[in-house]
Amino acid sequence: MLDYHFTQKVVVGFLLLSTVFTACAGSSRYVSPDEVSQFDDRYSETDMRLMGEKMAQSIVAHKEIAGRENPCAIGLLHIENRTSEYIDTDAIADKIMVALLKTGKVKFVDRKILDDIFKEYGLSSSGFIDPSKVKKAGKALSADYFLAGQLESIHKEDRRKSLTFYRLSMRLTSTETTEIVWADEKELRKKKTKGILKW
């Protein structure tokens, strides 16, 4: 017959050990891309998604775009990063572009690869390419609008908390009249409370 105290010690020791060992081991799993991530008060992929979606919805709903019979052609210019963080603003632009293309109401013209395209035409006219396969120039789309913007941030902090404010502002400019036909902004505020013991 086992002694009660002996059994108690074994159980307590086992439970303590299990807790300690389990707590120290890490794990990983898949999570939904739509799940909000909030590790800290810095720029995150959730911010990129929220900003991109807001801008795309706003553009598509605007009368200049919604009221057209045929899709318009937009050239994407640079989104300036005026924050104090290293942010790939091209990723926000890509997010907007993908969302707009899916609506079918907008076309995009890619001006970043013009140099590569001209090189390809140069190669075609050099006689190196099979003449029957050469692409003919003169069919490039002209952009109806240019889309550009800037991302700004303001960061404030004291000993116990910090507050970061992000603002993405974008505008659509007519290539014909230079008129800004659409503009919108998306603001985000993130608050962080600092722990007393910083691990």
Binding site: L16, L17, N81
Partner: protein, 414 residues
């Protein structure tokens, strides 16, 4: 009688043999130690040879073998092998252990555990890999490595957050080469915020402001550069002479930090500075003095201010709890001293890590040059035996000319 005498003699001889063997084994150095010694005698081939012997030993110090091997290859100029070694070290430091391994690790004393690197080890390994990728022309990979270095540098006290200026500076260079002026501006601003005395970041900010037609701002930044760089090796203005090329030397100076047991909390380790004589260097190109070096980062400072005390405290607490729990189990308690290690501090460290990073930069006409580096101490006295001369160094127009060198006594013998 005769037998007992013979037995006595045999016992004495056996004892002497055992003592001699113990002494010999105790004094014999491992290949790892020999490799470290050879490194600081500037015998890099020998150093590499010894470190390569340790490569196949996937034991608790594998990370240290790889980091030292990477540094040896890096200093010797074999960048591909250096990258392989650093990446192997980084991958091991990043690897998550299984629950079973975590349990075993918890039971051991720190000195007997697999070395997984301190935060500054990880940050510096990424910085080295980033520099290697820049040298090899892979800007995308370089950007990733410098950003990982900055990520590894998190978890510090607020005032030291983001102060890894070496990573910021070269990240800025990468962004400039990629045409991302916004991010380049952020990078150089980070450098001027944490290290306002470093001149080249001010010059870069001036150049970027000029490109963006912000002449007033450009002039302010340029004046800051002129105030910080007595030699004005990048020129007094921003007009770019198309006939001149940019030469940058990254100088790894001195010896990185060591670790020792905290005198009050013996279970914890403490970062300590290793003494070295070099304070700065002067560069002459083709016999003409170009400029001196400026410190962009202090590795000992990074090690002292890197976070992780809270994590170490938690680990030590968990270790003590585990030990107490095992001791409470009858029967096991007797063997707990054997099963469990003590709580002694882990004083292992990256032996060949440099103590500081300096940058020397200037505009030079393209061509092949002899470069001479003279090293000076705190009292501006030239250090004997440290001078380096490199012959037929090409400086090419239209591309970044970056050289990475290390200060060391006897680097060039004769």
């Amino acid at each position: 009688m005769k037998h007992s005498k013979a037995l006595k003699m045999f016992s004495v001889h056996l004892l002497l043999f055992a003592l001699g063997t113990a002494l010999f084994l105790g004094c014999a150095k491992s290949a790892f130690q020999k490799g470290q010694e050879a490194y600081f005698k500037a015998d890099f081939d020998k150093s590499i040879e010894y470190f390569e012997q340790m490569k196949t030993k996937k034991d608790k110090n594998y990370v240290l073998y790889m980091l030292d091997l990477g540094t040896a290859y890096f200093t010797a100029g074999d960048y591909y092998e250096a990258e392989n070694a650093f990446l192997a070290g980084i991958q091991t430091m990043e690897k998550d252990v299984s629950e079973a391994q975590a349990a075993v690790q918890l039971a051991k004393s720190d000195a007997k555990k697999t070395y997984t690197g301190d935060p500054h080890d990880m940050a510096m390994a990424h910085v080295f890999t980033g520099l290697l990728n820049m040298e090899l022309g892979d800007l995308e990979a370089a950007e990733i490595e410098f950003r990982k270095a900055l990520e590894s540098d998190r978890g510090k006290e607020e005032k030291y957050e983001g102060d890894l200026c070496l990573a910021h500076y070269f990240l800025g260079q990468v962004y400039r080469m990629k045409g991302e002026l916004d991010n380049a501006r952020i990078a150089f601003r980070n450098v001027t915020e944490h290290r306002p005395e470093f001149p080249y970041a001010w010059y870069e900010l001036a150049d970027i402001a000029e490109q963006e037609n912000l002449s007033g701002e450009a002039e302010t930044f340029l004046q800051n550069y002129r105030d910080k760089d007595n030699y004005c090796s990048l020129g007094r203005g921003l007009e770019h002479d198309p006939n001149l090329a940019d030469l940058t030397i990254v100088l790894c100076l001195g010896k990185g930090p060591m670790k020792k047991a905290d005198p009050f909390l013996g279970a914890f380790s403490q970062v300590a500075e290793r003494k070295y004589k070099e304070e700065y260097a002067e560069l002459s190109v083709g016999g003409a003095l170009l400029c001196r070096s400026y410190q962009v980062d202090d590795v000992t400072h990074q090690a002292k201010t890197s976070g992780g005390f809270g994590g170490e405290l938690a680990r030590k607490t968990a270790q003590v709890v585990a030990q107490q729990a095992l001791q409470a189990v009858p029967g096991v308690g007797l063997f707990s001293g054997l099963l469990l290690g003590g709580a002694e501090a882990d004083v292992r460290y990256w032996y060949t890590l440099p103590g500081e990073f300096h940058i020397i930069r200037g505009l030079v006409a393209p061509g092949n040059y002899s470069l001479e580096l003279k090293f000076y101490d705190k009292k501006d006295k030239e250090l004997e035996g440290y001078r380096q001369v490199w012959y037929y160094v090409p400086v090419r127009e239209g591309q970044s000319n970056i050289l990475i060198l290390r200060s060391m006594l006897g680097m060039q013998k004769g």
